[in-house]
Symmetry: none
């Protein structure tokens, strides 16, 4: 018989994660302190430790929840479309429109990149990344590509895995550059890449 509703608890957790996102984005995970989150969220230190058992748990939860939110929504939109080509175009356009991304998008991207980097040194984080984040992203593009191959829209001999990796490595690379350099031609690059990628993939 909980004193506080599940609803309220989720609300509280979300509040903490939102603040954590802001703080980790601004200062980086290692430099940001629990006190930063306290100040940003207005929630006491003790309370934060009621909801999460460590700073690292906040980090992991943050990434899992954010990623899920973003890609679930995207998947729904993509599945509304009927051809692989349309889906592919939609995915590109969706990513192109992200710039000039919202502050939230930017925060998320920064934190995600740092997480990826940290994960290369920390087994627990790596597992989260592999199982949760990477998987979600790859499923989307692999889904579209195999759908296209099956439907005959895309080239039969297409190496799906390579093209899927190629897709995200370019997008992630561009997103990173875009975060780091103010005049980065994100739009142009993605548009260019869209046309190149489609030409390579679509059956001539």
């Amino acid at each position: 018989m909980p004193i506080v509703s599940e609803e309220h608890k989720n609300q509280r957790k979300k509040q903490i994660l939102d603040s954590a996102l802001a703080c980790f984005s601004q200062k980086g995970y290692d430099v940001a302190t629990i006190d930063d989150i306290v100040k940003h969220s207005g929630i006491s230190k003790g309370s934060i430790y009621n909801y999460f058992k460590s700073k690292e748990e906040i980090y992991i939860d943050l990434l899992e929840v954010s990623t899920k939110n973003i890609y679930d929504e995207l998947t729904v939109q993509i599945n509304k479309l009927h051809t692989a080509i349309d889906q592919m175009k939609f995915l590109f356009d969706y990513l192109i429109d992200q710039d000039p991304s919202t502050e939230l998008q930017k925060d998320y991207s920064l934190v995600k990149f740092e997480f990826q980097l940290s994960s290369s040194r920390n087994e627990e984080l790596k597992e989260v990344l592999e199982n949760s984040l990477k998987d979600t992203k790859m499923k989307i593009i692999e889904g579209i590509l195999s759908k296209g191959v099956i439907s005959g829209e895309f080239r039969k001999e297409l190496n799906i895995e390579v093209y899927a990796e190629m897709f995200w490595s370019f997008v992630d690379g561009a997103t990173l550059q875009n975060l780091l350099f103010p005049n980065y031609p994100y739009h142009e690059l993605l548009k260019e890449q869209k046309s190149i990628f489609l030409k390579k993939v679509i059956k001539p």
Copy 2:
């Protein structure tokens, strides 16, 4: 021991930077401690602070020196070639051969990516990145592209800046993915990208 040769001092500095690279790569800049560098290098803490005035200075020097070493060498090799197409191919092949890159290469890449991330939160680092690291990389590719445009090898209407950014965003993106995911098809991706890029760039 004093009144020691400049040679010896440079050797000592290099030793410290080498250890710093290993430590920063293994744990990340924030988590790695000066004591880690002490342990790894066998040089005392006091001595390290005789050569560098802060942990941050080690970080910056490390990036500047490493980058200079890598790209100076690369530039020399490229300049030996006479056509832009050969230079472009050489650059791709050079990058393709980097994988499965030495441990040192990997360490450098990891640290460089973390540096890029940190630089988005720290003006001093950002300046180093802009003035030193980014600049060096961009000059190489822009040099090749403009040489090709002038010589007539490449398309006249080529937007050099966009293609230069595109080139590195892809390479950096792939390098990052390669670092993070063991089965990343780095070779295939770069080869594919080489053929795509050349086709786009070379006058038909």
Copy 3:
């Protein structure tokens, strides 16, 4: 323990300042360490830094609080007396009675002298000294002198500022010598000075 009364927090602060006084007095500000204060007070290092943000802040607070306590009390006592001559005599007697002063008095005096010295090299300390410490002391003596001039007890042509400075320079000088040399004839000197000073000041 949190959500603790303001009372308790003030008590804690006082405890830290008391220990700081003891430590700074015993070893000097620069030589005394935070660990000394930890050991003396039984309060953990982290806690001390919850109450004061630096060693220097402890120093400044210590001086301000101590001075305020001492001179506020003294001012109250002086204001109970109705003639400037009585006030002047009381002030001398009060200072004469300070010797052989309590340990606390001695500690305070030592720390105060060191603070004065440090303040000649540190703008922040100098400001505290000028605005808080010096001012408080000068107000007391200037108050008495001008009261005496107005009431006709003291010589009309008395240069109040000069005599005020003279008063404290002598007292502070004697206090310092007294601290430093065990057989210093503090009593006799102040009694002598009392009679000289009064004779010079009182209208013949």
Copy 4:
């Protein structure tokens, strides 16, 4: 058979002590570093440790040498005068003329006060102070006073020790205030004190 002449060694020592005086005055003994002295003197660290076995020894030597220099010279001048009254007047005038003292005078005074303070916490320093510094100063004034009593210039019943202490406690107090407060009326105070002191001391 020394390689370097005694002359040269003394010259070197003096150079170090001069720099030490400047550094200790500017930053205080604890804060000033051997490297500060190295920088100021142009003499290497190793060399400094050839001439003095520790930072503290520099401190002690500095005080002893400076004090000796100052008071030896003063004693010579005083002994040229034939009456105690003239000597007393000369001493006052000498001290009055010290303000606006030279930078060197100021440095010496600051360092001397700090030394006095430190000596209250350090037996070795205390001994130096008692045996060397205090003694020298007291001898001068006690010499004059007893000469005056014997010659009949001064009051027979004069308590020489008390008046000697009183003299220096006032002078040192004023010197300290003068160092610390830019507008301190050092001249006026000493002139005033000169007339008071002489009146009290000279046989009516």
